[in-house]
Protein backbone atom coordinates (compact mmCIF):
# COMPACT_ATOMS: atom_id res chain seq x y z
CA UNK A 1 0.00 0.00 0.00
CA UNK A 2 1.64 3.19 -1.16
CA UNK A 3 1.78 6.48 0.68
CA UNK A 4 1.12 9.03 -2.04
CA UNK A 5 -2.69 8.74 -2.33
CA UNK A 6 -3.11 9.22 1.40
CA UNK A 7 -0.85 12.27 1.48
CA UNK A 8 -2.57 13.67 -1.58
CA UNK A 9 -5.95 13.24 0.05
CA UNK A 10 -4.69 14.86 3.22
CA UNK A 11 -3.32 17.82 1.26
CA UNK A 12 -6.62 18.17 -0.56
CA UNK A 13 -8.61 18.13 2.69
CA UNK A 14 -6.23 20.65 4.23
CA UNK A 15 -6.60 23.00 1.28
CA UNK A 16 -10.39 22.68 1.30
CA UNK A 17 -10.39 23.50 5.01
CA UNK A 18 -8.13 26.50 4.45
CA UNK A 19 -10.38 27.84 1.69
CA UNK A 20 -13.37 27.34 3.97
CA UNK A 21 -11.77 29.40 6.72
CA UNK A 22 -11.15 32.24 4.31
CA UNK A 23 -14.52 32.12 2.58
CA UNK A 24 -17.11 31.38 5.25
CA UNK A 25 -18.54 34.03 7.54
CA UNK A 26 -20.17 31.99 10.28
CA UNK A 27 -17.70 31.66 13.15
CA UNK A 28 -18.81 28.12 13.93
CA UNK A 29 -18.40 26.99 10.33
CA UNK A 30 -15.01 28.69 10.17
CA UNK A 31 -14.04 26.76 13.24
CA UNK A 32 -15.30 23.52 11.72
CA UNK A 33 -13.07 24.18 8.73
CA UNK A 34 -10.12 24.54 11.13
CA UNK A 35 -11.06 21.15 12.56
CA UNK A 36 -11.06 19.77 9.02
CA UNK A 37 -7.51 21.07 8.62
CA UNK A 38 -6.44 19.42 11.87
CA UNK A 39 -7.98 16.14 10.70
CA UNK A 40 -6.06 16.41 7.44
CA UNK A 41 -2.87 16.80 9.50
CA UNK A 42 -3.76 13.67 11.42
CA UNK A 43 -4.15 11.66 8.24
CA UNK A 44 -0.65 12.74 7.23
CA UNK A 45 0.73 11.80 10.63
CA UNK A 46 -0.79 8.33 10.54
CA UNK A 47 0.31 7.74 6.96
CA UNK A 48 3.88 8.85 7.58
CA UNK A 49 3.99 6.73 10.73
CA UNK A 50 3.25 3.70 8.57
CA UNK A 51 5.79 4.79 5.99
CA UNK A 52 8.56 5.24 8.53
CA UNK A 53 7.61 2.23 10.58
CA UNK A 54 7.52 4.07 13.91
CA UNK A 55 4.59 5.02 16.07
CA UNK A 56 5.62 8.62 16.73
CA UNK A 57 3.20 9.84 14.10
CA UNK A 58 0.31 8.03 15.72
CA UNK A 59 1.24 9.55 19.08
CA UNK A 60 1.21 12.94 17.36
CA UNK A 61 -2.27 12.30 15.98
CA UNK A 62 -3.38 11.39 19.48
CA UNK A 63 -1.96 14.62 20.87
CA UNK A 64 -3.69 16.58 18.15
CA UNK A 65 -7.01 15.07 19.17
CA UNK A 66 -6.46 16.08 22.80
CA UNK A 67 -5.46 19.58 21.78
CA UNK A 68 -8.43 19.85 19.43
CA UNK A 69 -10.80 18.83 22.19
CA UNK A 70 -9.47 21.56 24.49
CA UNK A 71 -9.46 24.07 21.67
CA UNK A 72 -13.06 23.31 20.77
CA UNK A 73 -14.17 23.92 24.35
CA UNK A 74 -12.42 27.26 24.53
CA UNK A 75 -13.48 28.31 21.05
CA UNK A 76 -17.10 27.42 21.43
CA UNK A 77 -17.18 29.13 24.85
CA UNK A 78 -15.92 32.32 23.22
CA UNK A 79 -18.40 32.02 20.36
CA UNK A 80 -21.32 31.36 22.73
CA UNK A 81 -20.40 34.34 24.88
CA UNK A 82 -20.37 36.55 21.79
CA UNK A 83 -23.64 35.06 20.63
CA UNK A 84 -25.28 35.87 23.93
CA UNK A 85 -24.39 39.48 23.36
CA UNK A 86 -25.21 39.87 19.70
CA UNK A 87 -27.56 37.01 18.83
CA UNK A 88 -25.40 36.34 15.79
CA UNK A 89 -22.46 34.11 15.04
CA UNK A 90 -21.38 35.88 11.90
CA UNK A 91 -17.80 37.06 11.80
CA UNK A 92 -18.93 40.16 9.96
CA UNK A 93 -21.39 41.30 12.57
CA UNK A 94 -18.46 41.47 14.93
CA UNK A 95 -16.93 44.50 13.31
CA UNK A 96 -16.47 47.17 15.91
CA UNK A 97 -12.78 46.86 15.44
CA UNK A 98 -11.37 48.11 12.20
CA UNK A 99 -10.74 45.49 9.58
Amino acid sequence: MTVEPFIGLSALLFAIGAIGVLVRRNAIVVFMCVELMLNACNLSFVTFARAHGNLDGQVAAFFVMVVAAAEVVVGLAIIVSIFRTRRSASVDDASLLKL
Binding site: I19, N42, V46, V67
Partner: protein, 272 residues
Protein backbone atom coordinates in the same frame (compact mmCIF):
# COMPACT_ATOMS: atom_id res chain seq x y z
CA UNK B 1 -6.42 0.11 -1.85
CA UNK B 2 -10.04 -0.51 -2.86
CA UNK B 3 -11.30 0.87 0.44
CA UNK B 4 -9.21 3.98 -0.02
CA UNK B 5 -10.59 4.69 -3.46
CA UNK B 6 -14.10 4.11 -2.18
CA UNK B 7 -13.68 6.41 0.80
CA UNK B 8 -11.58 9.17 -0.72
CA UNK B 9 -14.27 10.56 -3.06
CA UNK B 10 -16.81 10.45 -0.25
CA UNK B 11 -14.43 12.39 1.97
CA UNK B 12 -13.65 15.01 -0.63
CA UNK B 13 -17.32 15.53 -1.40
CA UNK B 14 -18.14 15.75 2.29
CA UNK B 15 -15.28 18.19 2.87
CA UNK B 16 -16.61 20.35 0.05
CA UNK B 17 -19.99 20.05 1.74
CA UNK B 18 -18.53 21.50 4.94
CA UNK B 19 -17.36 24.52 3.01
CA UNK B 20 -20.23 24.94 0.59
CA UNK B 21 -23.44 24.17 2.47
CA UNK B 22 -25.20 27.29 3.58
CA UNK B 23 -26.59 25.85 6.77
CA UNK B 24 -24.17 25.28 9.60
CA UNK B 25 -25.87 22.01 10.60
CA UNK B 26 -25.27 20.55 7.17
CA UNK B 27 -21.63 21.55 7.46
CA UNK B 28 -21.44 19.80 10.80
CA UNK B 29 -22.97 16.61 9.43
CA UNK B 30 -20.60 16.65 6.44
CA UNK B 31 -17.70 17.07 8.84
CA UNK B 32 -18.91 14.05 10.78
CA UNK B 33 -18.86 12.03 7.54
CA UNK B 34 -15.26 13.10 6.92
CA UNK B 35 -14.28 12.16 10.46
CA UNK B 36 -15.84 8.70 10.35
CA UNK B 37 -14.22 8.02 7.00
CA UNK B 38 -10.93 9.15 8.46
CA UNK B 39 -11.38 6.66 11.27
CA UNK B 40 -11.65 3.92 8.66
CA UNK B 41 -8.50 5.20 7.00
CA UNK B 42 -6.74 4.90 10.35
CA UNK B 43 -7.95 1.32 10.69
CA UNK B 44 -6.59 0.59 7.21
CA UNK B 45 -3.22 1.96 8.21
CA UNK B 46 -2.62 -0.19 11.29
CA UNK B 47 -3.83 2.39 13.79
CA UNK B 48 -6.64 0.58 15.62
CA UNK B 49 -6.29 2.76 18.72
CA UNK B 50 -6.64 5.96 16.76
CA UNK B 51 -9.56 4.40 14.90
CA UNK B 52 -11.40 4.07 18.18
CA UNK B 53 -10.30 7.43 19.54
CA UNK B 54 -11.25 9.20 16.34
CA UNK B 55 -14.79 7.90 16.62
CA UNK B 56 -15.14 8.33 20.36
CA UNK B 57 -13.43 11.69 20.79
CA UNK B 58 -13.78 13.43 17.47
CA UNK B 59 -17.09 12.22 16.15
CA UNK B 60 -18.59 11.44 19.52
CA UNK B 61 -17.47 14.32 21.68
CA UNK B 62 -16.19 17.16 19.56
CA UNK B 63 -18.83 17.00 16.84
CA UNK B 64 -21.56 16.67 19.43
CA UNK B 65 -20.26 19.78 21.14
CA UNK B 66 -20.44 21.58 17.81
CA UNK B 67 -24.00 20.41 17.32
CA UNK B 68 -24.99 21.46 20.83
CA UNK B 69 -23.68 24.94 20.21
CA UNK B 70 -25.40 25.08 16.85
CA UNK B 71 -28.68 24.17 18.52
CA UNK B 72 -28.05 26.88 21.09
CA UNK B 73 -27.25 29.48 18.48
CA UNK B 74 -30.13 28.52 16.19
CA UNK B 75 -29.98 25.78 13.59
CA UNK B 76 -31.92 27.42 10.84
CA UNK B 77 -29.57 30.34 10.42
CA UNK B 78 -28.21 30.38 6.91
CA UNK B 79 -25.00 32.08 6.10
CA UNK B 80 -25.04 35.48 4.47
CA UNK B 81 -23.60 35.54 0.98
CA UNK B 82 -22.74 39.21 1.12
CA UNK B 83 -19.08 39.95 0.74
CA UNK B 84 -17.83 42.48 3.26
CA UNK B 85 -14.49 42.97 1.60
CA UNK B 86 -14.87 43.28 -2.16
CA UNK B 87 -13.27 40.44 -4.06
CA UNK B 88 -12.09 38.78 -0.87
CA UNK B 89 -13.88 35.55 -1.66
CA UNK B 90 -12.47 35.30 -5.17
CA UNK B 91 -8.95 36.03 -3.97
CA UNK B 92 -9.34 33.51 -1.17
CA UNK B 93 -10.54 30.82 -3.55
CA UNK B 94 -7.79 31.46 -6.08
CA UNK B 95 -5.11 31.51 -3.38
CA UNK B 96 -6.58 28.42 -1.77
CA UNK B 97 -6.67 26.52 -5.06
CA UNK B 98 -3.08 27.48 -5.82
CA UNK B 99 -2.05 26.42 -2.34
CA UNK B 100 -3.95 23.16 -2.62
CA UNK B 101 -2.55 22.51 -6.07
CA UNK B 102 0.99 22.98 -4.84
CA UNK B 103 0.37 20.78 -1.83
CA UNK B 104 -1.27 17.98 -3.80
CA UNK B 105 1.13 17.93 -6.72
CA UNK B 106 4.40 18.63 -4.93
CA UNK B 107 4.02 17.26 -1.45
CA UNK B 108 2.17 14.09 -2.29
CA UNK B 109 4.88 13.01 -4.70
CA UNK B 110 7.72 14.03 -2.44
CA UNK B 111 7.98 11.03 -0.19
CA UNK B 112 10.96 8.89 -1.07
CA UNK B 113 12.15 5.69 0.42
CA UNK B 114 10.50 2.37 1.05
CA UNK B 115 7.29 2.15 3.02
CA UNK B 116 8.38 0.30 6.13
CA UNK B 117 4.99 -0.58 7.55
CA UNK B 118 4.12 -0.94 11.20
CA UNK B 119 4.51 -4.70 11.56
CA UNK B 120 7.51 -4.37 13.80
CA UNK B 121 6.35 -1.32 15.74
CA UNK B 122 3.01 -2.96 16.44
CA UNK B 123 4.59 -6.28 17.41
CA UNK B 124 3.48 -5.93 21.03
CA UNK B 125 0.15 -4.50 20.03
CA UNK B 126 -0.65 -1.03 18.82
CA UNK B 127 -1.90 0.26 22.17
CA UNK B 128 1.16 -1.07 23.93
CA UNK B 129 3.46 0.55 21.39
CA UNK B 130 1.71 3.88 21.78
CA UNK B 131 1.80 3.66 25.56
CA UNK B 132 5.50 2.98 25.41
CA UNK B 133 6.09 6.24 23.57
CA UNK B 134 3.49 8.23 25.45
CA UNK B 135 4.71 7.38 28.93
CA UNK B 136 8.36 7.48 28.12
CA UNK B 137 9.60 9.63 25.28
CA UNK B 138 6.64 12.01 25.21
CA UNK B 139 5.79 11.97 28.90
CA UNK B 140 6.39 15.67 29.37
CA UNK B 141 4.16 16.69 26.47
CA UNK B 142 1.57 14.25 27.77
CA UNK B 143 1.62 15.89 31.19
CA UNK B 144 1.47 19.31 29.57
CA UNK B 145 -1.80 18.42 27.89
CA UNK B 146 -3.35 18.31 31.36
CA UNK B 147 -2.67 22.06 31.50
CA UNK B 148 -4.68 22.35 28.29
CA UNK B 149 -7.60 20.43 29.70
CA UNK B 150 -7.65 22.48 32.91
CA UNK B 151 -7.50 25.66 30.87
CA UNK B 152 -10.43 24.48 28.78
CA UNK B 153 -12.53 23.71 31.84
CA UNK B 154 -11.61 27.00 33.47
CA UNK B 155 -12.39 28.85 30.27
CA UNK B 156 -15.79 27.27 29.89
CA UNK B 157 -16.57 28.09 33.51
CA UNK B 158 -15.47 31.70 33.15
CA UNK B 159 -17.28 32.40 29.91
CA UNK B 160 -20.42 30.34 30.22
CA UNK B 161 -21.17 29.68 33.88
CA UNK B 162 -23.41 32.21 35.54
CA UNK B 163 -23.10 32.08 39.25
CA UNK B 164 -26.25 32.51 41.36
CA UNK B 165 -25.63 35.77 43.12
CA UNK B 166 -28.69 35.76 45.36
CA UNK B 167 -30.41 33.03 47.34
CA UNK B 168 -33.02 31.18 45.35
CA UNK B 169 -36.57 32.52 45.82
CA UNK B 170 -38.84 29.86 47.31
CA UNK B 171 -42.55 29.26 46.71
CA UNK B 172 -43.24 31.00 49.98
CA UNK B 173 -41.33 34.11 48.96
CA UNK B 174 -43.16 34.23 45.68
CA UNK B 175 -46.57 33.84 47.34
CA UNK B 176 -45.78 36.57 49.86
CA UNK B 177 -44.66 38.84 47.10
CA UNK B 178 -47.86 38.21 45.18
CA UNK B 179 -50.03 39.03 48.19
CA UNK B 180 -47.95 42.13 48.80
CA UNK B 181 -48.67 43.31 45.29
CA UNK B 182 -52.36 42.60 45.78
CA UNK B 183 -52.38 44.61 48.99
CA UNK B 184 -50.55 47.54 47.49
CA UNK B 185 -51.71 47.73 43.91
CA UNK B 186 -54.76 45.53 43.91
CA UNK B 187 -53.16 43.19 41.42
CA UNK B 188 -55.08 39.94 41.13
CA UNK B 189 -53.15 37.34 43.13
CA UNK B 190 -54.59 34.23 41.49
CA UNK B 191 -54.00 32.59 38.15
CA UNK B 192 -54.89 34.48 35.03
CA UNK B 193 -57.90 33.13 33.18
CA UNK B 194 -57.04 30.47 30.64
CA UNK B 195 -57.88 31.08 27.02
CA UNK B 196 -61.12 29.72 25.69
CA UNK B 197 -63.09 29.82 28.93
CA UNK B 198 -66.78 30.17 28.00
CA UNK B 199 -65.66 30.99 24.52
CA UNK B 200 -66.78 29.02 21.53
CA UNK B 201 -63.72 26.79 21.69
CA UNK B 202 -60.62 26.47 23.76
CA UNK B 203 -57.74 27.09 21.34
CA UNK B 204 -54.90 29.18 22.79
CA UNK B 205 -55.55 32.00 20.38
CA UNK B 206 -59.17 32.41 21.44
CA UNK B 207 -59.59 34.73 24.41
CA UNK B 208 -61.84 33.80 27.30
CA UNK B 209 -65.33 35.26 27.46
CA UNK B 210 -66.32 37.20 30.50
CA UNK B 211 -69.84 36.77 31.98
CA UNK B 212 -71.03 39.84 30.14
CA UNK B 213 -70.01 38.32 26.78
CA UNK B 214 -66.97 40.54 26.25
CA UNK B 215 -63.50 38.98 25.79
CA UNK B 216 -60.76 38.97 28.38
CA UNK B 217 -57.51 40.42 27.04
CA UNK B 218 -55.30 38.89 29.67
CA UNK B 219 -56.34 35.30 28.96
CA UNK B 220 -54.15 34.91 25.88
CA UNK B 221 -50.39 34.90 25.80
CA UNK B 222 -48.69 38.23 25.27
CA UNK B 223 -46.68 36.82 22.42
CA UNK B 224 -49.84 36.01 20.46
CA UNK B 225 -51.34 39.38 21.25
CA UNK B 226 -48.23 41.16 20.05
CA UNK B 227 -48.16 39.11 16.90
CA UNK B 228 -51.78 40.06 16.30
CA UNK B 229 -53.02 36.52 15.69
CA UNK B 230 -55.59 36.41 18.50
CA UNK B 231 -58.95 35.41 17.09
CA UNK B 232 -62.21 36.98 17.99
CA UNK B 233 -63.61 34.99 20.87
CA UNK B 234 -67.18 36.11 20.46
CA UNK B 235 -69.53 33.79 18.66
CA UNK B 236 -71.09 36.30 16.35
CA UNK B 237 -67.97 36.87 14.28
CA UNK B 238 -67.47 33.21 13.47
CA UNK B 239 -71.11 32.68 12.69
CA UNK B 240 -71.32 35.44 10.18
CA UNK B 241 -68.17 34.12 8.48
CA UNK B 242 -69.71 30.67 8.22
CA UNK B 243 -72.92 32.10 6.86
CA UNK B 244 -71.10 33.94 4.14
CA UNK B 245 -69.13 30.85 3.24
CA UNK B 246 -72.22 28.73 3.03
CA UNK B 247 -73.96 31.26 0.84
CA UNK B 248 -71.00 31.37 -1.49
CA UNK B 249 -70.92 27.59 -1.82
CA UNK B 250 -73.98 27.41 -4.06
CA UNK B 251 -77.50 25.92 -4.11
CA UNK B 252 -76.81 22.25 -3.28
CA UNK B 253 -74.96 23.25 -0.10
CA UNK B 254 -77.62 25.85 0.52
CA UNK B 255 -80.07 23.13 1.40
CA UNK B 256 -78.32 22.73 4.68
CA UNK B 257 -80.18 24.61 7.35
CA UNK B 258 -78.23 27.71 8.24
CA UNK B 259 -77.42 27.81 11.94
CA UNK B 260 -79.33 30.26 14.09
CA UNK B 261 -77.74 33.65 14.22
CA UNK B 262 -77.97 33.87 17.98
CA UNK B 263 -75.55 31.87 20.09
CA UNK B 264 -77.77 29.09 21.37
CA UNK B 265 -75.21 26.33 21.49
CA UNK B 266 -71.61 26.31 22.59
CA UNK B 267 -70.34 24.01 19.88
CA UNK B 268 -70.17 25.59 16.49
CA UNK B 269 -70.14 24.04 13.05
CA UNK B 270 -66.38 23.50 13.09
CA UNK B 271 -66.85 20.91 15.80
CA UNK B 272 -69.20 18.85 13.66
Amino acid sequence: MTAFWLLAPIMVVAALGVVLSRKAVHSALCLAVVMISLAMMYAMQDAPFLFAVQIIVYTGAIMMLFLFVLMLVGVDKTDSLVETIKGQRLVAIVLGLLFGGVLVTVVAQAFVGPVVGLGEANADGNVHGLAKLLFNRYVFAFEATSALLITAVLGAMVLAHRERLEPRRTQRDLALERMQRYAEHGEHPGNLPTPGVYARHNAVDVPALLPDGSTSEISTSKTLRDRGVVRDGAFAGDVSVTMRRLEADGPERGRVEPPPSTPARHDGEEDL
